[in-house]
């Protein structure tokens, strides 16, 4: 195994030892293989740059040696599907999947496997920088300490000015929150690349956590059908917040492309002020008639197409008026009770509620004060149950700093 910076700018010799040029760069074919193979060399002689295919390469370590003397030196020009290690990988940023962060490549590790040279890792240690800055003879003594396997990194195709088919499978391993943090930290082009590679559901989960500015830029920059699909995958509350940050015309167009039901849900949220409980609440909750038993409820839950997440309680409603809240049965009580128990016996009737026009902070405070996991939202006039504010949303409201991803990045040069 050896490093890229050890071999570049070293002479390249033909079979008979004659001087051909200086090794400028290595061409790597990127795409399906786990460890990309070297496809060829870029050799520089004066001002000219030649391409030498890998099959003519005999040895790469130290001074590169070719296996023939009469090499058909084709002039080098870039091709799709290929990247240059020195120009497109070295000193660029990659995503370290296992480390869930962005790293900068300080050196590239290569090795020969069954006669083929492959890229196997990147060195992100500071020592690699020292090694490159210092005189050559010391280089061998400063060994890099932080090597990340190439299969554990996500290469960003926007680093190279050619069309590439990069595999983004490993991105799916990242938690949407981590992914959102990475998306925020990357440049717009790079983050657009990442988001384009995600399926709609993951994209929605990720984008919900991305900062407002970046989110608006991303949605406005992508195909509108896809943007609408992603918005549908988000919770209506999140989608409402997102749409409000977009350009008015674009927001209208996206709403128009969404499924009518979904769009209506989002509109309902948009009807409330930005910081209100009505905007924060989830409209996805489970109601059960008061005459049902515990057994009935569990059966009903299991047969539901989409069970809300988080599921914290069941909302017991009057048998003749399914919008009228009579009480709440916490999931805990449901699980511990005898299946024959009617819900009316189990439920908590004395339940604090909030209005959709209350401030989100006040709803959060109610949750905290009464030790609740969720608080129902009742419409002011009709007293109908229209939504719930859950404890995880309340947390987001009470701890705004956690969600401030932008912060002092303005000073990042």
């Amino acid at each position: 195994m050896f490093f890229l910076t050890f071999i570049v700018d070293q002479p390249v010799h033909g079979k008979a030892g004659e001087w051909i040029g200086v090794l400028e760069d290595l061409i790597v074919r990127i795409g399906d293989e786990r460890y990309p193979p070297i496809a060829g060399l870029v050799v520089r002689d004066g001002r000219r740059r030649f391409f030498v295919p890998a099959r003519h390469l005999q040895d790469l370590k130290g001074a590169a040696r070719l296996s023939s003397s009469t090499v058909d030196l084709q002039s080098f020009s870039r091709r799709d599907g290929e990247i240059l290690l020195r120009r497109d990988v070295l000193d660029h940023q990659l995503i370290d999947i296992t480390g869930r962060r962005i790293v900068r490549v300080n050196d590239v590790q290569l090795t020969r496997v069954e006669g083929v040279y492959r890229v196997v890792g990147v060195d992100i240690s500071a020592r690699a920088l020292l090694r490159r800055l210092g005189p050559r003879f010391l280089a061998g003594r400063i060994v890099g300490r932080q090597i990340i396997d190439w299969s554990d990194v996500q290469y960003l195709a926007s680093a190279a000015p050619v069309q590439l088919k990069v595999s983004y499978d490993r991105l799916a391993e990242l938690n949407p929150v981590d992914l959102a943090r990475i998306v925020d930290a990357l440049s717009y082009r790079e983050s657009a690349e990442i988001v384009a590679a995600l399926d709609e559901e993951t994209a929605a989960e990720t984008l919900e956590e991305v900062s407002d500015e970046r989110l608006a830029d991303l949605l406005e920059g992508m195909d509108q059908e896809r943007a609408a699909d992603i918005l549908e995958e988000m919770t209506p509350a999140a989608a409402a917040d997102v749409l409000e940050n977009l350009d008015e015309d674009v927001a209208e167009q996206l709403l128009a492309r969404m499924e009518p039901e979904e769009a209506a849900d989002v509109q309902a949220h948009l009807a409330y002020d930005e910081d209100s409980a009505g905007r924060l609440m989830s409209t996805h909750f489970v109601t059960i008639s008061a005459v049902a038993t515990v057994g009935d409820s569990l059966a009903a839950l299991r047969s539901m197409e989409e069970v809300p997440d988080p599921l914290l309680a069941l909302y017991v409603v009057a048998p003749d008026d399914p919008d009228h809240l009579q009480g709440i049965v916490r999931l805990r009580s449901l699980i511990l009770a005898d299946p024959a128990t009617p819900l009316a016996d189990l439920m908590d009737e004395d339940v604090p509620t909030v209005s959709p026009n209350d401030r989100a902070e006040d709803a959060a405070r109610v949750l905290a004060e009464y030790n609740l996991l969720a608080v129902p939202v009742l419409d002011d006039e009709t007293r109908k149950l229209i939504g719930i504010v859950t404890v995880d949303d309340a947390l987001a409201v009470l701890l705004p700093e956690v969600w401030q991803r932008r912060g002092t990045r303005v000073f990042a040069a």
């Binding site: 900068r104 500071a126 790079e190 749409l243 948009l270 009807a271 000073f411 040069a413």
Partner: protein
């Protein structure tokens, strides 16, 4: 389907919204060193450098526009681009240059604080350490946001120079004559102040700041034109304020042959506006501008290094989590404060000297910007047009020549 008529504040008035990076960077340009340089220029050479001010303002507009454009098109900061496009050795050189230049400016900010303190009769040995601790605490505790605004407002006191310039009733035809007629004098003193003028107006860190702000705001190539408007406005305003400072000191101090040795001298130019309160007004402005920059500069420099070199960054982290970041950041503040406390330091001269250094190092940054902004692989169709290139390259070469001449003349001066 109708969306509710909700004020979309974010995208309302796109031009007004874009006002930010350029304007702020321009305001930062009128800091301690800036004031010292412009005031010295007026006091020592009267209106003789106004023509230079016009040209330099155009220069800085061009350079800032290129920086902002790079930020919008690539979405990356300057040090990111340098690291990715140039060899590591060149990257190290450029970063070192910027580090030295910025360190000098940080020193100048603390000198500004020292000078302001002395205007109010407070010993610098009390004021400077206090200010250093204050700034460090404010930034690491995250409350810098609103404090930054207070300092910014204080620094607007320098607008009093504009009033002063009018109240001193200069001969406006003379002013106009000097503004429109370039007259380059090949003397060390003149060139010295000229390069300081360039160094303070086209301060390298301001380019970095503009580019980072553009990146942080998420400006994309399609909405770049609003940002360009902001850059132009900011540049013009900064240039005007600088011009009025020169006119004010030229009209009040130059005729009486008063050179600027201390801050008190510079404050006297405000007497037409503020009478005996000139010292107070000037002191407040100086304090505000210096504190502002004393916070921004170390942070910006440390971020620049951390982006290019890849160490963990963030002021909100503890010493354990980001030791190099906190170390560099703290070190810069300590350095700045320490140098400002050296006994017998000729404050005004050091202030101007720092900007001469900036001016000399500027060509390195300029050539780096030119290489990057013309790289088609990086900028796509947004590279410089040929005519723009002639202008930009012309500026870079001119500035380099001036620096070279100054260095040569100074060295010759040592041997004569």
């Amino acid at each position: 389907m109708e969306t509710p008529a909700r004020p979309r504040l974010r995208r309302f008035w796109p031009y007004l919204r874009a006002l930010g990076p350029g304007l702020l960077a321009a305001a930062a340009g009128n800091d301690a060193g800036g004031i010292a340089t412009y005031a010295s220029a007026g006091a020592s050479y009267g209106y003789g450098l106004l023509w230079a001010m016009v040209l330099v303002t155009i220069f800085v507009g061009v350079v800032q526009e290129m920086s902002a454009r790079m930020g919008a098109v690539t979405g990356k900061g300057f040090s990111d681009l340098v690291r990715e496009s140039f060899s590591l050795r060149i990257t190290a050189l450029i970063l070192l240059t910027l580090l030295v230049a910025n360190a000098g400016i940080i020193v100048s900010e603390f000198i500004g604080i020292a000078a302001a303190a002395e205007l109010f009769g407070v010993s610098r040995y009390v004021a400077v350490p206090l200010a250093a601790v204050l700034v460090w605490l404010l930034i690491t505790r995250g409350s810098y946001g609103w404090v930054e605004r207070i300092f910014l407002v204080l620094s607007f006191a320098f607008l009093a120079y504009v009033g002063s310039a009018f109240l001193a009733r200069p001969d406006w035809s003379e002013v106009l004559g000097h503004t429109l007629q370039p007259r380059l004098r090949m003397e060390v003193g003149y060139l010295y102040v000229l390069i300081a003028l360039i160094g303070t107006t086209i301060s390298p860190y301001m380019q970095l700041y503009v580019q980072s702000s553009v990146v942080e705001k998420g400006v994309t190539p399609s909405d770049y034109r609003y940002t360009r408007f902001d850059v132009i406005i900011g540049t013009v305003i900064a240039g005007l304020v600088a011009g009025f400072i020169i006119i004010a000191t030229a009209a009040t101090l130059f005729p009486r042959g008063i050179e600027i040795e201390t801050a008190a001298d510079a404050a006297r130019a405000l007497e037409p506006v503020a009478g005996s309160y000139a010292r107070v007004l000037f002191g407040l402005g100086l304090l505000g501008a210096s504190l502002l920059a004393a916070g921004v500069l170390p942070l910006a420099t440390t971020y620049m290094l951390s982006e290019a070199l890849g160490f963990e960054r963030g002021v909100s982290r503890t010493w354990d989590e980001a030791p190099i970041f906190m170390g560099v950041f703290t070190g810069l503040i300590v350095l700045g404060a320490s140098v400002a406390l050296i006994p017998g330091l000729p404050l005004m001269q050091v202030l101007v000297g720092v900007y001469v250094l900036n001016g000399i190092l500027l060509p390195i940054e300029l050539f780096a910007i030119l290489r990057l902004v013309n790289d088609r692989e990086l900028m796509g169709s947004h590279v410089n047009s040929p005519s723009y290139n002639i202008l930009a390259w012309g500026i870079a070469i001119l500035v380099s020549l001036l620096s070279l001449i100054l260095i040569v003349l100074t060295v010759l001066g040592w041997f004569s």
